[in-house]
């Protein structure tokens, strides 16, 4: 089984990517390649929808770390939505993503992003 990567239209500095299948030694390079052009300074949040991802290995964690580092340089974040049991287990073991950046639904992640954006806007007004 391979990995299917669906890149949804970006909006407000946020980009959602839906992963289906397995993110492992055989597929992580595809993901790196597809994410690379998206990980620029204008991107504040990459939302990885993992509801249909069945399996991840350390090769997949490597891709996620690359994205976290690329965005972290300008204060951006990688948010994770709906990781399945095997993936949550691996995430926990290596602390791949902070707990408060993992969400159980896209609605929850959207609410978090909305709150984050409002905070940024309020910050701008105070300057």
């Amino acid at each position: 089984m391979s990995l299917h990567i669906e890149i949804l239209p970006a909006a407000n500095g946020s980009q959602r990517v839906v992963l289906t299948g397995r993110l492992d030694t055989h597929t992580y390079e595809d993901l790196d390649e597809k994410l690379a052009p998206l990980l620029n300074k204008n991107l504040q949040s990459l939302v990885l929808d993992l509801a249909a991802l069945e399996y991840i290995s350390s090769a997949g964690i490597r891709s996620i770390f690359k994205a976290r580092k690329a965005l972290g340089g300008h204060g951006g974040k990688v948010l994770v939505v709906n990781p399945q049991a095997q993936i949550q287990k691996v995430f926990d073991m290596v602390k791949a993503v902070p707990m408060n950046e993992i969400f159980s639904s896209t609605a929850e992640a959207d609410a978090y992003l909305f709150a984050m954006q409002r905070k940024v806007l309020q910050g701008d007004e105070e300057d």
Binding site: D24, T25, H26, Y55, S57, S58, A59, I61, R62, F65, K66, R68, K69, G72, G73, A85, Q86, V90, M93, V94, K95
Partner: protein, 145 residues
């Protein structure tokens, strides 16, 4: 039960090994959670052996990687054997999980994951081969009821 599978040391064949293992485990009623653990262990070990297992520390070329599986009571035991350079995968330093993401390396987590998942691990170097035993706890009919 004991099965022995051998694949040449190349990435493309690791999937073949995992597909065969998955079929055997499913046939023996091993649940999806443990099957996922086995897949992960095989992938991490094989990737590591293929990348670093050569005599000069480089790729291991056509060396073979074999695995024995045994199920006894509530333990599933995997025994891996490869003829690459001596290497104890249990000897690597654990990663610093608390560091900031900007300071963390992107790799070096595979062998750590094996140690975390396994109930028990044991390494030996015998007859010019690396032997690694990894035990996983499985649900038995008694523990399920």
């Amino acid at each position: 039960m004991l099965i022995r599978l051998i694949v040449p040391g190349e990435h493309a064949r690791v999937e073949d090994l995992n597909t065969s293992l998955e079929a055997v485990l499913t046939r023996h009623g091993i649940d999806a959670g443990v099957r996922g653990d086995v897949r992960l262990i095989v992938e991490e070990l094989a990737s590591n052996a293929i990348a670093y297992g050569g005599v000069d520390g480089n790729g291991m070329g056509q060396h073979e990687l074999s695995v024995n599986i045994a199920i006894a009571g509530d333990l599933l035991t995997l025994e891996f054997r490869d003829e690459g350079a001596p290497f104890d995968p249990l000897s690597t330093a654990p990663p610093n999980l608390e560091a900031d993401i900007m300071d963390r390396p992107i790799g070096g987590l595979g062998l750590y994951l094996i140690r975390q998942i396994a109930e028990e691990t044991h390494y030996r170097r015998i007859d010019d081969a690396n032997l690694l035993r990894v035990c996983l706890r499985i649900a038995t009919p008694e523990t399920l009821s």
